[in-house]
Each structure stands twice: as structure tokens, then as C-alpha cells.
């Protein structure tokens, strides 16, 4: 049986990087595959962040954009569609992890599982993928990057382990 996979988009990768939690997803191996599309990695994320090589905790994988059938192709970018294509092409349970509402809506409309990037961060933190001191150090930067309503930001800031 295939391992469940998480497909991370640029919004969550950038937020993790900005907060100093970029290697937190390494926590999931070997329980889950962490997938990043080559478009997201090579065109959206790595050229704008000081990272020279792909992380050991993720598999950067080519996505077949031709496989995606849609009328309104312009609702999402090509890197976004590559996340959808990767999730749709993966075997087993796959979840698209993003903080972007439009990408999440499209994923759900296409019967994919979706998870808020912030929920993913909380899960990682409570399961000890991010230490308490790392969390305390990075949470302010994370919240300024993802611009959430005060109520949600407060809940994130006061997450208990």
C-alpha cells in the first residue's frame, strides 16, 4: 500500500522558510511522502530563497500539466496546477497543503484532500517536529507572512504542545 503524501505549495514553503522552520517537514519521514512539484521548487521557491539543493525530506517531482482538465485554467498559476496534477497523479491518500484560498478551493472542488498550511504547522509542532523554542522564535514571522484574522493568529500563537 502506498504511503500517504503531502503536496506542499509555495505559500507554505515560503512561510516555513521565513519562520526558520524549513526543515520541520523532515519529521514526517518515513510516515509520509512530502512532495514538491518541480515547477514550484525550480521556478517559484528556490530562485527567491537562499537554498542551493533540494531538501532531503522532500521529493521534488515533475508534474504532468497536460493531465489537468479544466475550463477556468486561469484561476490558478502553472505552479499551482502542478500541485493539483501531482496530487491527482499520486497513488494513495494525498493532501494538498496550502494557505492560499483559491488553490485550496480548487483542490477540494476536484475531490482532493486539502489542509491549511497553518494546520500543518500546528500538527508538526504538537507532534514535536518543531521544538517549543523554535516555535516561539518563528511564530511572529510566520503570522506576519500568512496574514490571518486576529482570532486565528491568537489561537496559533497560544498552541499548546
Amino acid at each position: 500500500m502506498s504511503k500517504p503524501a503531502l503536496v506542499l505549495d509555495n505559500s507554505i514553503l515560503s512561510a516555513l522558510f521565513a519562520s526558520g522552520w524549513f526543515d520541520a517537514p523532515s519529521f514526517y519521514r518515513p510516515d509520509r511522502l512530502v512532495l514538491i512539484s518541480d515547477r514550484v521548487w525550480n521556478r517559484e521557491f528556490s530562485p527567491y530563497h537562499e537554498i542551493e539543493s533540494e531538501p532531503a525530506w522532500a521529493t521534488v517531482q515533475e508534474a504532468d500539466l497536460e493531465s489537468v482538465q479544466t475550463q477556468a485554467l486561469g484561476q490558478l498559476s502553472k505552479p499551482d496546477w502542478s500541485c493539483i496534477a501531482l496530487a491527482e497523479g499520486a497513488k494513495g491518500d494525498t493532501t494538498v497543503v496550502t494557505n492560499d484560498k483559491a488553490l485550496r478551493e480548487v483542490a477540494i472542488r476536484r475531490n482532493l484532500d486539502a489542509e491549511w498550511g497553518t494546520h500543518f504547522v500546528i500538527r508538526t509542532f504538537t507532534a514535536c517536529g518543531i521544538t517549543i523554542s523554535e516555535f516561539e522564535e518563528g511564530v511572529g514571522t510566520y503570522l506576519s507572512d500568512v496574514t490571518l484574522p486576529t482570532e486565528v493568529a491568537d489561537a496559533v500563537r497560544h498552541t499548546d504542545k
Partner: protein, 272 residues
């Protein structure tokens, strides 16, 4: 300046009616012409002459002095502006700004729909920037108080409307470069005295740079008004997601990230 109103499911819509960015112009312009019919005997000829005279001016005059050209044409036809004003009450001029704002908003909405169905809809974005500029000019007319400032705003509006009238008469296959130049000039002259972000004077700037500014502004409008992703907004603008976020900040537009509530945060039901 880029007002926000996203949030519709577009997945089931068909692309055919949104392929031509100039298509919505014709019907909306017909509405404007129908209004002119009530006021002018030969509105077609007047429109043609007025458009030609305005477009013959260099940009620095076109976007500041076109109201004078309109005044001269009105005086030619009616003898004086007072005589013209005397017949206006029957045409209900007080409703004109609201009518035009509605026309420009409809044009903006229609042209932006093309963003959903084109991978690289540059003409749609440039026209969106142009219609947003026109819509903003209506709001500025209401905001500014002294007559000189009103005249300058009216001149910018007249300059852009003249360009649109000229484009419609030519029926080009794609948006001509002049429309992009005029949008950039309009944005510059309309924003020199307001409190929002400034747009640089296009004089001495290359066309590629001007186009980049106009398309970039169009992408911000698209993001503000359509339910598209941040990454798509960046793709439309031809910049990185980080640069696009900085552009959104200039116009006080927040990225649409979620969740909206604590309940929504936990609704995914995924647990370790």
C-alpha cells in the same frame, strides 16, 4: 484605487464569450452614444471631430487640457457653454457620473473574465488597468474641490475615452500600444494629487517598461476583483510571488490566505 470584490465559482463557465478583450467595449460605448443623441444633433460627427482634436494633442496637453477642446466644440455647436448647459437638465446630467461609473465597472468586470480562460491575457489586463483608471477618474471628479483640478481630471478621462473611441473605429485585432501609453499617462496625471500610490510619468520611459507597469497594475486589479490565487496574480504580473505581495501592499490589498476562523482551521480533521 484597485477595489476588491472576489469570490465566484468559475469552474463551470465557458471561455468563448471572454476571448476578445475588446468585445465588451462596443455595446457599452453604444450606450454612451445613445445618451449623446439626446443632446447633439449630429453626435457621430461631433464625436469624430472631438476625438481627432484631442488625440492630436501631445500627451502633456491631452491629459491636462482636453476639457478646453470639449468646450470649444460645445461652443461651436451651441454658441456658448451656457446655452449648452441650458438644455442639459432634460438630459439629467447629475446622473452622468453614476451612469459612467456603472459603464466602466461593467467593462472592467467583463474584460477581467478573460483572465480565467487565457494563460497570458495581456490585452485583458491592460484594458482592466484602463477601465480602472476611468472608474477612478469618476471618483476623483467627486473628490476634488477646485475647478482647475476637476478640469484636469476631466481631461484625463476625455483623453482615454477618445483613445477608446479611436480603437473602436479601427477594430484592431489586438490592443494598440497607444492604449497602453495612454493608460500610463492617465494613471500618472490622475494620481499626482491624490494620497494613494504614485505612478511615474511615462515621458522618457521605454514602451516595454510602461507596458510592464500597466500590466502589473492590471494584475493587481485582477487579484483584487477575481477569485484567483496569489501565485496566479504573480504569474499575470510576470513577477515573483514576493514581488507581487509587495505590489498588493502598495494598494492595501491583503493576500487571500486562510483560514478565516479557528473552526475552519481545524475543519480538515487531519491528525497524527
Amino acid at each position: 484605487m484597485a477595489n476588491a470584490q472576489p469570490g465566484r465559482d468559475v469552474s463551470q463557465r465557458g471561455p468563448a464569450e471572454y476571448l476578445d478583450p475588446l468585445a465588451p467595449l462596443s455595446s457599452q460605448f453604444q450606450q454612451i452614444k445613445s445618451m449623446l443623441e439626446f443632446v447633439f444633433d449630429d453626435h457621430e460627427e461631433l464625436l469624430q471631430d472631438l476625438t481627432d482634436d484631442i488625440l492630436a494633442l501631445p500627451p502633456e496637453e491631452r491629459f491636462t487640457m482636453s476639457h478646453e477642446v470639449l468646450r470649444e466644440h460645445v461652443e461651436d455647436q451651441f454658441g456658448s457653454t451656457d446655452a449648452f448647459t441650458a438644455i442639459l437638465p432634460e438630459s439629467n446630467p447629475a446622473k452622468l457620473p453614476a451612469f459612467l461609473e456603472q459603464v466602466f465597472d461593467t467593462l472592467l468586470t467583463d474584460v477581467l473574465e478573460g483572465v480565467f480562460f487565457h494563460r497570458n491575457p495581456q490585452d485583458h489586463l491592460a484594458l482592466a488597468a484602463l477601465f480602472q483608471t476611468l472608474e477612478y477618474s469618476i471618483r476623483r471628479l467627486d473628490e476634488v474641490e477646485d475647478q482647475e483640478a476637476k478640469n484636469r481630471v476631466a481631461s484625463s478621462m476625455l483623453a482615454i475615452l477618445s483613445r477608446l473611441q479611436h480603437i473602436l473605429a479601427d477594430s484592431p485585432e489586438s490592443l494598440p500600444a497607444e492604449a497602453i501609453w495612454d493608460t500610463a499617462y492617465g494613471l500618472h496625471y490622475l494620481t499626482t494629487e491624490d494620497s494613494g500610490p504614485d505612478f511615474p510619468n511615462p515621458v522618457g520611459t521605454s514602451f516595454d517598461e510602461v507596458k510592464e507597469h500597466v500590466i502589473g497594475f492590471g494584475a493587481v486589479i485582477a487579484y483584487a476583483r477575481l477569485d484567483i490565487s496569489l501565485s496566479r496574480g504573480a504569474e499575470l504580473a510576470g513577477v515573483s510571488s514576493e514581488e507581487f505581495r509587495a505590489n498588493l501592499d502598495r494598494y492595501d490589498i491583503e493576500p487571500r490566505f486562510g483560514p478565516n476562523s479557528v473552526a475552519e482551521l481545524y475543519e480538515d480533521g487531519i491528525d497524527e
